[in-house]
């Protein structure tokens, strides 16, 4: 089906999006070639100087990148495993099925930044219930101010917040699976484990890939949690790329440099997602 008015459907949305975005993107590229900061505001032209500094003299940015990869891959992996397990558990008959389904969905409906504030009081090292419990064993873990544990706390809050998203997509997928393969499997006498490995998992592969990619995209932007929970600290031990760009741009007002960071970040991200998508497809879809 084709007709000349097809653009009447597409263009309103496309033009609005372009109109709002064209300036920010163009401006960021131009800004990245300038030395605009709080002392000398203005669009001068310094060529690729910012990019040279970023590739040769800014290990903090690349460390933040490494940390972001570690945090987002860990959280998304955990979310996938837990989300898939929960979806499988409430897929078939279980008592209070609907109650559990609603409960498992609720965290994703809450505002991450606000729940993180609550989590912060929860993990407060002297006044929160978590350390009240650990006190019984004479321990005082520093959930927010030790290098390793603060990473753990960030991962925990992210898993709490976003496992429901994984759960929702995977449960919706499970509920739409065809019945016939299961009939065939049970006639062949396959047990629950073999049915999962040979029927459910392969059938769910496309949905799994989609869900993991979407979550990776969202997880790579992790910012609110870090900002409220640890402010990147202690030191830089929970500082992610977004947070580092935020510090350079909106705390130290090095607009030019932070624009160069942004552009580099976007390019690396787009390349990584393309590669990750290819790897996932290879891993999950057999015989191709």
């Amino acid at each position: 089906m084709n007709f000349k008015h097809k653009y009447m459907f597409l263009l309103p949305g496309l033009l609005v999006l372009l109109a709002i975005l064209i300036f920010p993107i163009g401006f960021t590229v131009r800004l990245s070639l300038s030395s605009w900061d709080s002392f000398y505001p203005g669009l001068d032209f310094i060529g690729l100087e910012n990019y040279i500094r970023l590739f040769t003299d800014d290990s903090r940015f690349w460390e933040a990148f490494g940390r972001l990869s570690l945090l987002s891959l860990t959280t998304v992996f955990l979310q996938y495993i837990i989300g898939f397990s929960l979806a499988l558990l409430v897929w078939k008959e279980i008592r209070f099925q609907r109650l559990f389904r609603v409960l498992f969905l609720i965290p994703m409906m809450t505002t991450p930044v606000i729940m993180t504030v609550v989590w912060r009081t929860f993990f407060n090292e002297s006044l929160g219930p978590v350390n009240d419990f650990f006190n019984l064993f004479g321990m005082q873990p520093l959930w927010l101010s030790s290098e390793i544990l603060s990473k753990f706390t960030v991962v925990l809050v992210e898993v709490w917040q976003w496992t429901p998203f994984m759960f929702l997509l995977l449960l919706a997928g499970l509920l739409s699976l065809p019945k016939e393969p299961y009939l065939a499997a049970s006639i062949d006498g396959a047990g629950p484990v073999r049915t999962f490995v040979y029927v459910t998992f392969p059938l769910m592969a496309p949905i799994s890939i989609g869900a993991i990619i979407i979550r990776l995209i969202e997880a790579s932007k992790i910012m609110d949690t870090v900002y409220v929970l640890t402010s990147g600290g202690p030191g830089t031990s929970t500082e992610t790329s977004s947070f580092y760009i935020f510090i350079k741009g909106l705390r130290e007002f090095q607009f030019g440099y932070s624009a160069a960071l942004s552009i580099t970040y976007l390019v690396v991200m787009i390349i990584s997602f393309t590669v990750i998508a290819k790897i996932l497809v290879k891993m999950m879809v057999r015989g191709e």
Binding site: L17, I20, I106, T111, P112, A172, F243
Partner: protein, 282 residues
Amino acid sequence: MSLFYSTLKYLVVTLWSIFVIAPFLWALTTSFKDFQSVTNGATYIPWVDFEPTLDGWRSLFKSPAQGGVAIVEPFFNSVIVTAAGSGISIILGTLAAYSLSRFTFRVGPIRNGDITFFFISQRIMPPVVLSIPFFIMLGKLGLLDTLFGLILVYVVLLMPIAVWIMVDFFNKVPIEIDETALIDGCNPYQAFFKVVLPNSVPGIIVAGMFCMIFGWTDFFFAFILTFTEVQLLPVAIVALNSSITPWWSLSAAALVSVAPLVVVAFIVERYLSKGNLSGALK
């Protein structure tokens, strides 16, 4: 099914439920505490561990001058921005998704898939990358610290979600529906509005729910692009998280902010159980 397996099953779902509820319970008890019962260490059971007060909840309706936190206005600002942003995104996104699902576009090397990817790829951009240029752009347009400026930004944030869900949805609506309508003498606009659209309500509801979730829960843009005139709920609540945190007001405010979308969880579950969602989310 063995007894061991079913015990394990209920154990896992129960443990996860406790993990899900824990922060809410903590916020609920904290919201009834006063300065004394917060600073003397963790306490749990009202009347036993501490004397409950309503100060935290009362402070939500007082102005800052009276020692309150005044979250009523931010609450309605959030409602307006989320509703308007989601509404515009759904309308424009649905139209665009329909055209991408039904017609063939060819502009040079650009095909339908590339246009769809362009829409969705906007989600890759972290808010911090866009915030500086948006700050300067809205400043030039005189839209900083206004509801309208925020709504514009939220359209960029939410339209990709609407397009993503609706393209998948329309791809599953059989094209015969459109063709029958065209043969019956509708023009393409009538075919869309009178025949296809009424059949797409489940998809639109799912897309709308996702837009609402991501709009309501955004913090960063509201944080950067507004100051005093317009304050959104998440910003107002995070502002309480300072050196001397009023834990009781903060907990009460957090619960208020969470409440509206918990209703959404129930709606989503209804759709899931009826099987309407599985078609829309894949």
